[in-house]
Structure formats: structure tokens, C-alpha cells
């Protein structure tokens, strides 16, 4: 994130858990994106990784749940949350 972007893209950090971590093959990554919402960002990653069908996925930005229409900003930490199964 030291270089300033010139294409309007932002840098975000993604962490993957559970089925998504195994599917993607890593626990986290940093990437540049032109997505403006977390929903767009998910679509971008889904095109790249072909996520499995997971039912209702949720999303968190900077350790808080967010709507899919929430903005994604430079430096954000984003987690996509597959259906949970605690207990």
C-alpha cells in the first residue's frame, strides 16, 4: 500500500475462513480492486475463484457485520462469512 494508485483502485485485505479458506487455498490476501461495495468485491472474487454454493453468506468490514451494499474503502479489512455452525 506504499504506492499511490493511479487507476482509482483501492487496496483491501481479505481473510478467508473455513470452507472459503480451503477453497481459495490461503487464509488471507491483499489485493487492489475497483469495487465500490462489498457486494461488488465478492462478485469480483467469485469470478476469480468460483466460490462453491454456500447458502447465505454474510460480510464483515473491519470486524463488524455490514450490508452487501456497504462501501469498501482503501485499507479495509473484509471477511466473507459462510453459514456458521457453532455449538
Amino acid at each position: 500500500m506504499a504506492q499511490l494508485p493511479t487507476d482509482g483502485s483501492i487496496a483491501v485485505r481479505i481473510e478467508y475462513f473455513a470452507v472459503l479458506r480451503e477453497h481459495v487455498g490461503r487464509a488471507q490476501e491483499e489485493l487492489r480492486t475497483t469495487a465500490t461495495t462489498v457486494g461488488e468485491l465478492y462478485g469480483e472474487l467469485d469470478r476469480r475463484y468460483a466460490f462453491p454454493a454456500l447458502g447465505r453468506v454474510k460480510v464483515a468490514v473491519n470486524d463488524e457485520f455490514r450490508d452487501w451494499s456497504s462501501p469498501v474503502r482503501d485499507g479495509d479489512f473484509v471477511v466473507f462469512i459462510p453459514p456458521v455452525a457453532g455449538g
Binding site: 473455513a18 479458506r21 462453491p52 454456500l54 470486524d63 462469512i81
Partner: protein
């Protein structure tokens, strides 16, 4: 201090007893989730819990705060295990104290139900046949590297 925490090591409810002790409390209701040897007709040998801890602690603490708001309880606490567990191991503990047992039961039930529904924890079951699966995610693997799932 959060009323919800994760434990990467085995724990006993006694360790957290002091978190719910209260001289005004006449009732203590608790729930413990244990790893059982079967699920949906399949033999289970062990399982793994993975958690998104930073958000999980926040969400778990919110759930307990909701229980305090809804029911006249004295103390409440919840601990969820992470890592690899065997049959009979303690996976989650909820303890609630209250002056009266109705509130203790209701709050305990509320907390475990909401924790299971809302806290970002995932469970992978390893079956007797050697395969495994992430519960609620409808993805089963046979031990091969992931990556072949359909879009």
C-alpha cells in the same frame, strides 16, 4: 470484560464458575455442547472448530448483553472451544445465574441459540469413512485439495 470468549485449549466449566457466581443468585442454568459420535446418521470421529475471533467475541458479547436486557439475570458467560476436538469433548459452555430459575433457563437458551446462529464459528466434521465436511456449507471433500467446486 467480554461475556464471551474463545478457548483454543480444552477447558472445564468449573474454570469459569466464578464469572457467574453471585450471592443474589438462587438459580444457575447451564448448557454444554459436547462432540457426539454421530450427526445426521453418519459416524463422527472428530471435528474442528474455526472462528473469526475478533468479530466472534464482539458478536458473542452482544448476544449476552441482549440476554441481560431481556431477562432478569444476575450473571452470564459463554466460552466456545476452537481447534480439533474428539468425541465427548466440550465444545461450548453457557452459564447463567439469576434470582429465579425461569430467567436463568430462558437466558441460557437464548444465548446458546443465538451463538449457534450468529457467531462466526465453523465446524468441520471428520467421518468414520475418512471424508469430511463443513457443516451448513454443503461442501464435502474426500481429502483431496479443494478447488474443483462448481461456480
Amino acid at each position: 470484560m467480554s461475556h464471551f470468549e474463545f478457548s483454543r485449549e480444552p477447558f472445564t466449566p468449573e474454570r469459569y464458575r466464578s464469572r457467574v457466581s453471585d450471592p443474589v443468585a438462587g438459580g444457575y442454568a447451564s448448557f454444554e455442547g459436547w462432540v457426539r459420535n454421530h450427526n445426521e446418521g453418519r459416524g463422527v470421529q472428530r471435528l474442528e472448530y474455526e472462528g473469526y475471533e475478533a468479530l466472534g467475541i464482539k458478536e458473542g458479547d452482544r448476544i449476552v448483553a441482549e440476554a441481560f436486557a431481556r431477562f432478569p439475570i444476575a450473571q452470564a458467560h459463554c466460552v466456545h472451544r476452537l481447534g480439533v476436538l474428539g468425541i465427548g469433548d466440550l465444545a461450548v459452555w453457557v452459564g447463567v445465574t439469576a434470582a429465579h430459575r425461569e430467567a436463568a433457563f430462558a437466558a441460557c437458551r437464548y444465548i446458546i441459540d443465538e451463538v449457534k446462529n450468529r457467531v462466526p464459528i465453523w465446524k468441520k466434521e471428520h467421518y468414520a469413512e475418512g471424508d469430511s465436511g463443513w457443516i451448513n456449507c454443503e461442501v464435502r471433500t474426500s481429502g483431496a485439495p479443494a478447488g474443483s467446486a462448481l461456480p
